[in-house]
């Protein structure tokens, strides 16, 4: 509709992307601009479409599993966990407690890497280069810990249907505890560098406000939603795995602007540290794999929907099984798809510089949108 209008004298069209330093992947936003103000916009996605859902129909359950790490590579372990939970539900497998604890610890460590990377990349979008180096420094420590356990730095494929394949040892536990102490001591640095920075506050306060009504209309989830004051987190609302055993709060914002979403993510990082500490303190002994996992996975006929809370919001898998070794239909409900769809509404009448700030604050990963 907008792209086919004739040339108007007052407004002009500008392409933001698909190659642009701040589009977090290959996203193209066609902006209709009046000077520096956005009159109309339309995101154009699909530049990262790699046919995950078609591959799911052509591969067996274990063969499709490596794809899950590539859907959203920044919090890949949560996606692994959701897929394992969905298939375990279809098969009726119960996961042993120690395996659930290991899943929670590694998934929360991965959430920290995702939020740290968002923090660094977002500030780079806004023009500040130093926080990027600080947070990649912290991130590398987590990546070393997880690399030693899982073998990968980024696109994990670690959990198995029924548990986890490798156990954590004392070195993992002491390294993680050391890291928790270290990151706690860095909060002051981050707040002094960024949160109290006048330029940052000017660029983010009262910019990109999302209301509760808009959130319900578009189905937003994750920190994008919690910045607007709605305390919805799947780990608390629909608890799964070992999360009911841990004590943590859900930080929310008040105004729904970028600054609130930023604070929500920083406070969530502290909550993740609390969860990791509690999990390490209460770690039970026992097996790490369920006892009778069938060699050839043939779930019963039926359908299942499982959701987890990732760093970006609610990730859900909908699997329809016809009793075969391959699923009949797999739908990946990704949080960034809904989160990005609100973009054209909230960047109306803003400046281009604000557009970049708002887009970054939604924390989208384009390959997950395009699947």
């Amino acid at each position: 509709m907008m792209l086919q209008r004739g040339i108007e004298e007052k407004t002009f069209f500008l392409n933001l992307g698909p190659q642009h330093p701040s589009t977090h992947g290959v996203l193209r936003v066609v902006l209709e601009m009046d000077g520096e103000f956005i009159v109309n916009s339309e995101p154009d996605i699909g530049y990262g479409h790699r046919a995950h859902e078609k591959m799911a129909e052509l591969k067996t359950y274990p063969q499709f599993y490596p794809n899950m790490g590539r859907v959203d590579y920044l919090h890949a372990l949560a996606y692994n966990q959701c897929y394992c939970m969905a298939v375990e539900k279809l098969l009726g497998l119960a996961v042993p407690e120690r395996a659930e604890f290991i899943r929670v610890i590694t998934s929360e460590l991965n959430r920290l890497t995702s939020h740290l990377l968002w923090f660094g990349a977002y500030l780079m979008d806004l023009g500040a280069f130093t926080p990027f180096l600080y947070c990649f420094d912290d991130r590398e420590i987590i990546l070393d810990i997880l690399d030693r356990l899982t073998g990968s730095r980024l696109t994990y494929c670690f959990y198995r249907f029924g548990g986890v394949p490798a156990d954590i040892d004392d070195e993992f536990i002491s390294a993680t505890r050391g890291f928790v102490q270290r990151l706690r001591s860095r909060w002051d640095d981050y707040h002094n560098l960024v949160t109290k920075n006048v330029i940052f506050i000017e660029r983010t306060r009262d910019v990109g406000i999302i209301t509760e009504a808009q959130a319900i209309q578009y189905g937003l989830t994750g920190p994008t939603l919690r910045g607007s004051g709605i305390p919805y987190d799947i780990r608390k609302s629909e608890p799964y795995s070992a999360y009911p055993l841990f004590d943590f709060i859900i930080p929310t914002g008040e105004r729904g602007d970028i600054l609130d979403r930023y604070m929500v993510r920083l406070l969530e990082m502290e909550q993740s540290l609390r969860i990791i500490e509690q999990a390490l303190d209460k770690l039970p002994t026992g097996p790490i794999m369920a006892e009778k996992v069938p060699k050839r996975l043939k779930p019963a006929e039926g359908e299942v929907y499982t959701a987890v809370e990732t760093a970006r919001g609610e990730f859900g898998i909908y699997i329809v099984s016809k009793g075969d070794v391959k699923p009949y239909r797999t739908k990946l409900r990704v949080p960034s798809f809904a989160n990005l769809s609100i973009l054209s509404e909230i960047i109306q009448e803003t400046l281009v510089a604000d557009t970049v700030a708002i887009l970054g604050s939604l924390d989208v990963v384009i390959p997950e949108i395009d699947r």
């Binding site: 479409h49 078609k54 539900k89 319900i216 939603l225 919805y232 629909e238 409900r333």
Partner: protein
């Protein structure tokens, strides 16, 4: 309980099936079946109950389609699935009048399955290039070279 409130309001619409789901097995609290032309009213009802559209997708059952809508709530745990059977070659009413977020979901279903949505403001392809001439998630699509 949100599930009871939803069930009570759905009875007014005379739907084929409004039943409790087996949460432990499927993850649903309510299972609903509806006809295509009843869907906009069902969607408006869920919006009035402050539920959000969790997911909108389709399944190709070779002889027909099955559209699957998932609704959930931020405020109380209650997931509803709405199954809508659709004959091949017919169009589906759009629910963008209620949920603006359904815009992109319906475009994706059109892109992947070729299902048209009547009343959609901007129905064009979203993931594939605009000049693509196939719908990949159909069961008889085996792919390019």
């Amino acid at each position: 309980m949100l599930a009871d409130t939803i069930k009570k309001s759905l009875t007014a619409l005379n739907l084929e099936k409004v039943a409790d789901g087996d949460y432990a097995k499927t993850g649903y609290h309510l299972e609903v079946a509806a006809q295509p032309d009843q869907m906009p009213a069902v969607a408006q009802l869920f919006l009035d109950q402050k539920c959000y559209l969790e997911s909108l997708t389709a399944v190709d059952l070779v002889e027909s389609f099955l559209l699957v809508y998932h609704f959930a709530s931020f405020f109380e745990l209650c997931r509803t699935v709405v199954h809508v059977p659709l004959a091949k070659g017919t169009r589906m009413p759009s629910i963008t009048g209620s949920y603006k977020g359904a815009d992109w979901y319906e475009r994706e279903v059109y892109d992947m399955f070729g299902i048209g949505f009547s009343g959609h403001p901007n129905l064009k392809r979203i993931l594939l290039p605009e000049d693509a001439d196939f719908h990949p998630l159909l069961k008889d699509f085996v792919g390019g070279k």
